[in-house]
Amino acid sequence: MLHKYVVLLRMKYVEMFAYQLATIVWMTGAMVQPLITMLVWMNIYPEQEEAFIFYFAVLIFVERMTSAWDVWELEREIREGTFSYQIVRPFHPIHWAIAENFVYKALFFVILLPVWGILAVFVPALRFQLSTLQVLLFLAALIVAAAIRFLFSYSFGLLGFWITKVTAVYGMFEAISLFLSGRIAPLSLLPPLIQKISLYLPFRYMIGFPIEIVTGSIQGTAVMYGFVGAMSWLLFFMIVLSLLWKAGLKKNQAVGG
């Protein structure tokens, strides 16, 4: 297993450099919207400027580290019939996807840390003091968040066995999650009802939860409850994915010869 993964990781690593430009676009992509949202909030609460800069900088980081693109890949592969090649391999195709995610995100992590360091020299709002415990909790929450978002996206992709236009439906969920995951606003600024709902849906655990740990807006038992929620959703999507996978294989009819 481990040996297979080493091979996969190396393969994906090489692949990534073959598409340098696309990689760069992927990395820098989707930064504009959070930045504009940040400006809006800085306008509404000028006295809390620093806090918003920090929040949205962490948001961009977390968003990139957890971003999931598998639904688009799967949709295309199932539609064009190339997914069949992956199914017949003796190794579950999800491992390819996991390896790919790992390689891209690890690279981004390595690049972003020094960038953050340099920016922090010029922008005081980016300097932070965190306890070791906070850092560890953040990293744990981040990994769980990435896993949930990945499983969500992959499960959605598998729906492609049954319905076309999966990505359109996925896009709707993404749009709704803008509010519930803390991307439009820190959850504490939302109306109380939406805040409450967000605690029970998976979206907060995909992005907002790790940020809340770092900004210190949740502490102690709230963090613990957060992890309970995150782990439950993680487990839930693991089960959903394996069920979809089994049912999907029965259903699958490859397109083309």
Partner: protein, 262 residues
């Protein structure tokens, strides 16, 4: 000019015929447009849950601005976006030669050959939102307001077109750049909110370098009766300038174009 109008009508007709083959998709497209504008309105609600003005604009004003934004976005998706991927393909495969040999202006041809009609839904929804905002505000625009609005919205369409073409023309050099439209989207997103929201150097850039201010804020202000004649004149001037620039750039690109293949 007359001839180009006739050719445009012909493009219009063929694309319409083409699109009517996929009528069943209409409902889905309608739903996704409604959903999109719904999410945008909800976002503004979230902001105004915490404040009652944004860069000096009240809720109804921002709603009207969003309506203008949605309308313009609809036009972009209707006429400009569908053509972009085709130009890239033309250049990559060398079929751009055929475009050049046609007895029409090549810039005109690559900009308007393909139209996606259902995107006009966004235009209608945008106009509906503008009207709704006016009703909410209980403001009836005077004739002068409407006139200035029409002039400035035409300027914004010209500005959008010119910026779009400036970007698209770079495809002659950066051929594998599929993400040109992404660059444009990022810029266009900034026009979703009042220009008054941006401060310092960013505002200067968005007014004088990349004329975001003239795209949505100026027409919206005109309809709200807060226009001033200098801004309106400036928007016409800027539109003319950018159109001239994009035209020059296109000509320059054509001169350095050396077909693909062999």
């Amino acid at each position: 000019m007359r001839r180009y109008w006739r050719i445009f009508r012909e493009f219009f007709r063929t694309c319409l015929v083409e699109e009517l083959e996929y009528r069943s998709e209409f409902v889905g497209n309608l739903l996704s447009s409604l959903f999109g504008i719904g999410i945008a309105i909800l976002t503004i609600h979230i902001f105004f849950y915490q404040t009652n003005e944004l860069g000096g604009w009240v809720y109804e004003d921002v709603l009207l601005l969003l309506g203008v934004f949605n309308t313009l976005q609809g036009f972009i998706d209707f006429a400009l976006r569908p053509n972009m991927s085709r130009l890239l393909q033309h250049i990559r495969k060398g079929t751009f030669d055929y475009v050049l040999t046609k007895p029409v202006d090549s810039m005109f041809y690559v900009s308007f050959r393909h139209l996606v009609f259902w995107r006009l839904i966004d235009v209608l929804l945008g106009i509906a939102l503008v009207l709704y905002a006016l009703v909410q505000k209980q403001y009836i625009p005077s004739m002068a307001d409407v006139l200035i609005f029409c002039v400035t919205i035409c300027s914004s369409l010209v500005i959008i077109y010119s910026l779009w073409m400036l970007l698209m023309t770079t495809a002659f050099w950066v051929i594998r750049m599929d993400d040109l439209s992404f660059v444009f989207n990022s810029f266009f997103e900034t026009t979703r909110f009042p220009i008054g929201m941006y401060r310092g150097w960013l505002r200067i850039v968005l007014t004088y370098v990349l004329p975001a201010a003239f795209i949505t804020s100026t027409p919206a202000l005109a309809l709200l009766g807060k226009w001033d004649i200098t801004a309106a004149a400036a928007s016409i001037l800027v539109a003319g300038l950018f159109l001239w620039l994009s035209r020059r750039f296109w000509r320059y690109a054509l001169r350095s174009y050396t077909s693909a293949s062999s």
